[in-house]
Each structure stands twice: as structure tokens, then as C-alpha cells.
């Protein structure tokens, strides 16, 4: 477990840089992590997804891509355009939630 400073705030992160506590998340942190993930600007569509995921997280774990598309009405194709390469994982990272995992 390590800590790092993101946009002036010290937060706990895991080895891959995912926030350990969703409560430490701020919008400024989201903007900063999005840049690191190759998304220079978060548009209203991005925020819609991020906010929906935070509202529908169970135990700090982000919803699956299928849940996100059903819940927000944003198509899978569009999700890949908004969050290229692994949208479920990217959204989780930016929204300060746990990444989608298997059992091992």
C-alpha cells in the first residue's frame, strides 16, 4: 500500500494506482487520472458515466461495462470511444473505484 499526491491531495493507492478508498476521490483527482489515462479533457458524457458508476458502485467496486451501458444508455461502442482500450477498467480508475477483477 502506498500513498501519492494527486492534484494537491494525498491519497492511498494500490500498486496499479487505483484509489483504495472511494471517499478520498475528488473531481480534481478524476481530471488528473484521466490525463494519465490519455483522456485530455472530461466531457459531460465522461462525467455522466463517472457519476453513474460512483452512484452504482457496490462495496467500492465499479459496475461492469454491461451494467454501465444499460444504466446510462451509452452504447458499448461509444464507451470505447470515450474511454479507449478497456473502458470498464479506465472508468473505475478515474472514478476512484476498484477495477473489474476475476477470482484469481
Amino acid at each position: 500500500m502506498t500513498t501519492r499526491v494527486i492534484s494537491g491531495k494525498t491519497v492511498q493507492v494500490n500498486e496499479e494506482g487505483f484509489l483504495l478508498s472511494p471517499d478520498e476521490w475528488t473531481k480534481e483527482i478524476a481530471i488528473e487520472i484521466a490525463k494519465e489515462e490519455g483522456i485530455p479533457e472530461l466531457t459531460p458524457q465522461h462525467w455522466k458515466v463517472i457519476e453513474w458508476c460512483r452512484q452504482n458502485a457496490v462495496n467500492g467496486r465499479s459496475p461492469t461495462l454491461r451494467q454501465i451501458t444499460a444504466g446510462t444508455g451509452i452504447s458499448t461502442k461509444e464507451m470505447f470511444a470515450l474511454f479507449p482500450k478497456g473502458p470498464a477498467k479506465k472508468v473505475a480508475h478515474i472514478a476512484g473505484l476498484g477495477k473489474p477483477e476475476g477470482c484469481v
Binding site: L65, A70, K85, C103
Partner: protein, 412 residues
Amino acid sequence: MKKLLILGAGTAGTMVANRLSRMLEDGEWKITVVDQSETHYYQPGFLFIPFGIYKKHDVVKPRRDFIPPGVELIISPVEMIETERNRVRLAKDGRYLDYDFLVIATGAHIRPDQTPGMAEHEWRRSIHDFYTLEGALALARYLRTWPGGRLVVNVVDNPIKCPVAPLEFLMLADWFFRERGMRDRVELIYATPLSGAFTKPIASKLLSGLLEEKGIQVVPDFMIERVEPDAKKIISYDEQEVAYDLLVSVPLNMGDEVVARSGLGDVLNYVPVDKHTFVSPTYPNVFALGDAAAVPTSKAGSVAHFAVECFAENFVHYTDGLEMPHKFDGHANCFIESGFGKGLLIDFNYDVEPLPGRYPLPGVGPFTLLEESEANHWGKLLFRWMYWHLLLKGKELPLPALMSMAGKQRLN
């Protein structure tokens, strides 16, 4: 007389019937189980069929053999669950069954129809599955004469039943083709929507070398959009392409359609319930157990077994108006076949990821956790006997329902 109705006589439903028929007072309860077919499948055994290790007769038995005396078994599809009226409508004769308490254990099924191009003219020709008996048998026939080429295993999306089965399939395939002297003519590729074959930090560290040693390539972050069955390639939503000669798909898994029809499901037709007690947040007399439940644990027989143990004791208290004494912890315990007569064991729960160490088991253990051993392979094969003779019948096994840290090594 109070009525308990159980929908589904698979692993979870059968165990519930057996446990509760012993635990509930005779004469006070009437237990009824409904299933749409007569045959009980030992689903963990399907994995071995394509490689000729198990035959059909190893994995099927009549459901009735496992339903205890005094419990009624009705064979019929279920048309509708009417939770507002505490009754279920059967397809057979349009009959209604009333209940005081309902257990939904209707499982999860593969849905190749949900991926364009999959369930068309190449289905069960160059595109196969091993999550159904028919699929596993068809694949066994196909592999007997397959000349080699690119074998791609693709998981469409999670959650799936037995999440380690795709990896086991690949490791068994490596062994199978080596034994047949044709491994040099086979490429093994694993295309997964997750960020890697292993996603938990400790398992990744300890196991990632295993696939490399066996020459299994991983294509991560591959979210399949469609199959092009004539061009023999799978295409992801972000236009990555993976070509195959033989596609072994783990199609989208979904809960039963009756759950959707009855308005009780989430986006994948799983029933949302409390992850510790399995009671519905909307209907206090409705529970969902096994693969049918939308809980963040693995969809696996071992989980159903541990969950039913907690549930059964809770149910006896709950129906007497008492507080439920147990909180299920998401405990799972799975043998992972790694080929060449070896296997691994993982044991974990909602909060503790798979850890290395030893898993103690009186008489036969200990088994090695997150590490290959021959004992684990024998454990997996022995498990089939335990499943038919002890587990389904709800007999006591020397396995704790809640996860124990005994023998586990904490890293970090």
C-alpha cells in the same frame, strides 16, 4: 402447514431441499422443488469431456435420486414468478403453486445468441463451447480429428460460471496436444475482457509464469463485439481482430429467462439479494441462491455449498422470527487443473484474495494453495465422488463454510 418452494434442482436447489428437509420440523412444512428437466449434470466435469478424460456417464444422473423422501419434485418449466401474490405459475397445465417462502435457484446459462455471428452456421463446427454437455461432447468429437492450428479461447464477458475454467481448458489443451505429439502445430490463445489472465495481485505474481511456460498467449482487454464465422475471426468493440481456426467460446452467461419475465432480475437476469443472507431486499420471503443470485462472489458449486450451509441454519431462525445467526462471507474453494496430472487450489472470500500456503484437510490434506501439486489433481477428481455422494445430499463435509486463515501465508 407452511410451504417452501424451491425453483431449480441443480447444485444449490438440491442442497437446500436436502438440508431443510432434515432441519425443518416434520408435519409443519411442505417442501416442493420444481425443475424443467429430469437430468442432473455434474457441471464441473464438462471441462474434462473434450479431452476424453470424462465420458457422458460420469456427469449425469437422474435428479430424483437426490431429492429426499417427503419432498415433492415437479418437472415443468416455470412461466412466471408472481411475487406480489406469493405464487408461481408452471408451464405444465398452467398450474399455480402457492408459497410462504421461495428459493430461486434457477442457475446461469450460456447465451451464444447474444454475440452476433456466434450461434450461426459455424456453431459446433469451428465454434464450440464446453459449458453444456452437448457442447463438450461435440468438442470432444471435433478434437479427435482436428489437424491443429490456432485455438482461441474467448470469454465474452464476466461474470461466468467457474471463472477459472477457461484457463484450465487451455492448460489441459496444452497437455492434450503434447500427449498427441502435435503441440508444435497448435497455437493456444486466451482472449479475455479483463486486463490479464490473472487480475488479483498475489495470484498474478505467483501464476503468470505458468501460462508462459505452457506457451499460452494472452490477449487482454478484448471485449468481443462479433464473430465473423466465415473469415474465422473475432472482433472487439475497439476493432481488434483475433483470427482462429478453432474458437472455443465461453458465451455470455445469463440468469434464467423466468427471472427476467417476472421482473426480478438485473441486466444479466440475476436476482439482487443481500450478499450475506441471500434474502431479497424487496420481498422478505424470497431468497436467491447459487448462480442465480446477483452477489459478488464466484459462480461455482463450492460457493453454492458454503452459502447453502449458512442459509439453511439462517432460514430455520428466520422463519421462527429470530435473527439470522450467520453472515455468508463469499467463501469459494476451487481446484484448478493445470495439466500433466497436476493442479492448484484457491481458497478465498469477499475480502481475502487467493493466498499461498497450505489448505488443511483431515485425512487427505494438506493441499497446496496457489501452487501446483499432484495432490490437488487427485483432490479435483475425488471431488466428483464427493459431489454425488455427500455434497448434493447435504451431508456434513469436513470443510468449514466460512473461510479460515489456517495455513495461509499473508504476503506484504
